[in-house]
Symmetry: D4
Subunit: 252 residues, 8 copies
């Protein structure tokens, strides 16, 4: 309709029923978003190749299922993060092709086409309790078509476990480090490599970890250069950001 209004106005001008000054004045008064914001949307559309993502834990199973059904009609891949079994079952009842990645608490519909030339993004995690967040990151990376490489349970209490895999650290394009408790792994990895490191503090810990605050502050204060941080337990954010980087690096 807004376009119609615009067309009428311009037709009036072209057919002599309106003057330039008058049209300029009308254009100024017209809600700008009707003209300009397609461009904003267009820019966002550049992120094609990225999956649609649904944050499940604040929605009911029925709501989640409904959203999946709607999105899966147009999107190649739809992911549901922080999803429990009950939400998966609701989705699965409508979309039998849905898959549940229990470790990462992710529902997935559609199979991404992994582009072997994009990445790898290495996901490093400190302890077994950090795997849920690490898997969330890894699955988001893969759903975006990037290669994900998983290196789990290599916390600094046994440093040799990490150092044994030095070549995987060296060949990654981007590295995600997932750690709770004191979060020291981010600094250690950041000191060993020359690639960008995305640190994800987790809420894993006891006592004075204060729900991940200790790891978060530790990572923000890292003495290693080239380390940035996302919110506590935000595996999705780290995976999404890393996938953006890998695709840019690969020229996709």
């Amino acid at each position: 309709m807004d376009e119609q209004r615009l067309r009428n106005l311009l037709t009036d001008l072209s057919e002599g029923r309106a003057q330039v000054d008058e049209v300029v004045r009308h254009l100024r008064a017209m809600p700008f978003e009707d003209l300009g914001y397609a461009k904003v949307d267009h820019h966002r559309a550049l992120r094609t190749g990225f999956p649609e993502v649904v944050l499940c834990d604040s929605k009911t199973p029925e709501q989640v299922a409904g959203i999946f059904e709607a999105l899966s009609k147009s999107a190649e891949v739809v992911l549901g993060t922080r999803a429990d079994a009950s939400r998966f079952e609701a989705v699965n009842a409508r979309l039998p092709e849905a898959v549940y990645h229990q470790a990462g608490r992710i529902i997935q519909v559609g199979t991404p086409t992994v582009d072997e030339g994009v990445g790898p993004c290495l996901i490093v995690s400190a302890g077994t309790s950090d795997i849920a967040v690490a898997e969330e990151a890894a699955l988001v990376v893969e759903a975006t078509g990037c290669v994900a490489d998983r290196l789990y349970d290599v916390g600094v209490a046994g440093l040799h476990r990490l150092l044994q895999h030095h070549s995987r650290l060296a060949t990654a394009k981007v590295i995600i480090v997932v750690a709770g408790m004191e979060g020291a792994l981010a600094s250690v990895v950041g000191g060993l490599v020359s690639q960008p490191v995305i640190a994800v503090p987790t809420s894993v810990g006891y006592g004075a970890s204060f729900g991940g605050l200790a790891a978060l502050l530790s990572m923000l204060n890292t003495c290693a250069s080239g380390v940035v941080v996302v919110n506590i337990d935000n595996g999705f954010g780290a995976g999404y950001f890393s996938a953006m980087l890998c695709r840019q690096i690969a020229g996709r």
Copy 2:
């Protein structure tokens, strides 16, 4: 220039050198801000009558003086908040008409025309140490053309001091309450009146006041209805908001 581009385009259309479809396409591609944002600015211009305000403490005396000189050419009133004597002297050297309100740490250039029908806004403060913030609020109210009524040093430790002035509480259109320490005055005033109360916590206090945090939390948790809060020591913000209300209420 952007307007020139627009005019050229429309002239081409009106003179048959361009088609409607083509112009629509051009308009879509044109940076939207060239058209639409005048409207945004226009809306902001509705706040005429408000003074220009300079936050002084993060600028050098020379910078402050320069900004005052520039703004005073077009604005009826220019205020400088959080200003010490050295900054006033720098302004005064260039603008001899500048006035320094020491209690509120405010430099003022230009005399606002107070509209007796707007307000009064009552500014209530708890202790003598809160007066700097209260005066900042009161001077901002006055610079906006509203009537300010000051009621200072009526903290809850001597409740009768406040209650003696019940009629001033009753006739105010909007009430600003400025208090440090435990900030209880906001709840007490909020419980006595039926007008909107803007609470300003101050950093006045000792020990566990933690720079005004105690008063801030107290005011946010008020059991009285009709009380809202601004940042610690933000006399400017409270005065600005209250002046907006008074003018709206007065239909200005």
Copy 3:
């Protein structure tokens, strides 16, 4: 009884059984509240038109139902905030006309007469998870007889969604902004409009949102003028304050 004591005293004086000095001394000793505080109550009575409000979540269903029954005898509208289904059922058993607004968790008895000349108060919310708090605010606004306008799910991650509704921003008398996570929407709205903005941080968020603290601090530190803040999740407080403003502006 207190009045009786007063009358006896004055009658003694008028009939010569007491002296002026003696009566003055008695009046001083008489509990002041028996005389003066009717005035305080009278002032509070000026807020007629406001509904009676019951905070439900710290009361049992039976207590809630009893209070509703008592209040509904004299009040035009009674609201129960933070109410779950069990509390509604208890109220409904006694008052069949009770209505449950599930989205805003509010029980309502009585129909407010909305005064089309008061408001509109625009309630803007960032995400779908913020709607419970936004609805609490909107329903309180409506129960006070003001016009409420709802603009939901226009968070800053997709700024064009907000900007598309610029005219609704422009025509509102007062704007309530409800946002969790980083709470940036309050600053963005505050920068776009010239009306008073009431910001409500919500506890929606993950990790370092710390139950709404991130949004609260963000809103208190807003760089936009004309923004004030209420407690986390305090939709009621924002709605009540905004209704006060709208009625004052409309001269009600």
Copy 4:
């Protein structure tokens, strides 16, 4: 037994079987507590008249019942604080005379003899949600033989409710103020009276009350002289301290 050891030693000395030097040496080597700490205990015994108190919520119902059974054999009054119904039932099964004060969550065995000359201790509370803590304080006061006077639901949002009871404020020997949310009532009462005020912050509140922290900080920062503070929700501590004061004042 320790006394026996001591007597044997001294008898040996008095009967010539030991020398002074030898006894001195023995006394030095003897665990000092066998001699001296009876005095410490004796001093503590001065607090006779105080009930035995059991903190119930960290113990199982069986443990609570066992402790009550043991203590009730020698103590005039036994109180169990923070007790739910299940713990009361366990106690009641063994001690049919046990009474459950539901509002204050206290189990009581034995009837204290209230001494009308001790107190009154006035317990003032802000809202209905604070009554559990206020009752805990009041019952501890009474269990200690002091007169308790209850003045509930007189929060600062309706100040006249408090002021109406000025004479009860004036005649109390000690005043306990129980308040959550912003805790302003402690300052208001402290400003009205000349007796000692014991402030109890409660965890009642929402959002930025942070489990009672807002009220705690507010009370610690009170601008009124003569106000001291106990831990959040610590009705027991306030009652116990106040009873100590009342008894001292009464010369008991």
Copy 5:
């Protein structure tokens, strides 16, 4: 003047120029504070014997001197707390009889008459760095006419230093415990005695003492009964409260 208004009204009544109903109506309309609040003041006047107190550190030397000059005309004793040498010099220039208690940072004008039957109040401090706060408390106690007994530098790191003075602990009427760092002394003293203990956390400490927060939290969480807390470094508050208690206990 208010009294004059009242007298006129009553004279009219006594002389038949007014009716009872009319006078009742006038009295209701008269600002209540003109009648009732003398009583409030009267109650506060019960605290006679207490010194006037000036908080010096937020005032200029000239302001402090002016206030001292004014107050010393009517008050027996005037104290200035948190006073440095420059403020004392300003006072001393006008009032040569002024005395400066450097250890407690207190200016004193006038000599209190100590009543040997009131107290003693024992002030216990943990370390030498806590003495400034302890002296502030002790001087306030003495200025109120109570006997103060000082027991300094008896921190828990050398427990025998405290235990050696058991008899002074035993004979005190009220005990103030002043401690920084971990604040454990309050619990230890509270466990040894049966009198009321007023705990004053100080900002003495390093690192994770966070300006006295560690000691404050420690004291609030004391496992000893009969301990209450004032704000960090609030020697004045503790001294004032304790003097109130001592006077009540002594029947003054």
Copy 6:
């Protein structure tokens, strides 16, 4: 395989098929962990005599049982900390010799050989609610072959209870102090003894204990020398560290 690569290389050198320079170059390029990290492992192996430890509460009963089964094949003693009854039952079903220490929430398989010459390590706890953490520490000490001496319920509110056991304090090699609430016991014990003290804050407490933060800060700020701190509720960490010390002292 890495060793094989190394052997091939060296064999080539020894048999003349390679030169020294060439081998040096290869060794530099060879992943270092293939050579050196056995040494790291070897050092860690020095901690033989220490039990294998499984943190149970973040694992399912089945996972815990599987890990126990695997570890018990090679380890003399396997401990499971923070284990509830359901996890014990799962372990017990596979390993009938498993024992459940309910007080310390520990599952144990295998009997450590206590070396009477190592220790004793004295575990001191303040209240009955701290026993779970204290027992966790004590059982870890014993599982490491050290003598554990338990001294429970000796909080500072009744100081004589602690002082009565002075000789046990005096003969311990290392002392663990477990305390919640204000955590003062650590400072008191630290002031009485000359041995190392390991302080364990517990989350036992109410209100402003903030989940053990009060005790943690208190212990970190101790005025006693020779006191170190572990995380809140970290009985395992304190026991492990203390056992290391006892063994070093005993020359094991």
Copy 7:
């Protein structure tokens, strides 16, 4: 020397004075770092092109000058961050070619060769007070040879200022957002673009900004995807990380 030890060992093997098994055993016992860590260093050397960086504010002017002198012998570019004028003067006295970038508080020696194909990295800042941090980031980006594009003073209080520069947002390879106060700019930019956004909270603010905490929490909780965070005021870290990304994207 370590190499000499290695060579001797291998020479012995090659000359028959040692056996393969013996050499393997020796190699295992040899400190691993003598062999392997050159590789670690080698990896770090991949970051050539990056300047040497000296953090100046914790060093004396003399120390800073000495380090610059030493580093400038081998490094193409040496930067000194958080440097004041006195430190620059000390450096300049030894190295006359040193340049001082006052706005970013950076000393620079050597001229980086900017590679026009790398970047641009767009640095966006909210207010004029954020420019010091923004310039620190921009200068680090340039010193690494990347193109930096500066877009300053485009805070959300005047959103159109940002939107006017949409094309610069669109063409940047990486975007750094520097903002204090409520930090909302990071979310707004993150919502407008599809490139990686590095958010830098600054300590600019008042009251409840708590030294940048408000902006930090806001940025961590961003509702926009593709945003990561560095420490408060860490312009260096953001610039370094962004330069790494730009070079990777450009295939350098």
Copy 8:
């Protein structure tokens, strides 16, 4: 004198001038400390060999000098911690043999006899800014007669710097780790060694390090076993504790 009182009493008993009951009664009434607490002191005397230590920064230069003069008469070694040059000069004026260790801010009088068989205690620090705290620890260790081994500037950003010194890690009896910023070094060292690790967080850092809080929380949450923590910047405490351990291990 107390002993004299005791001897008189016992002599009376032995000579028939007193009865057993009477003496028992007297002993009970006698201040216990006169008997028993020599034992406490005696135990503390076991820590001979430890230097006297003066915390200088809260005392004036004159006070520090006076205390040094007094202590140096009887103590072999006197240390003054947190001492600046002015305090050293005051001490040096009275005690010419005084030495100032600038790096560790320590004044030392007297030369400790280092016992080569005690220790070594290895002090590891992360960055050059941590050296002040590390040196404080090292000098305390040496003043206690233990061997101190310093390994500075081996932070985790360059892990190979630490690993190169593996043999020094391996031969230490006790290891102190001093680190600011994220404090990760404590976990890394704790994972590499089997000896006790004492972690000292420092206040070195920027932004969200919050005065050492980030490092403190990181160290408390370490995933490595065998790590304990002291207060922020508490080099003295770590050195003192470690010296106790080294001496115990060496059987001193």
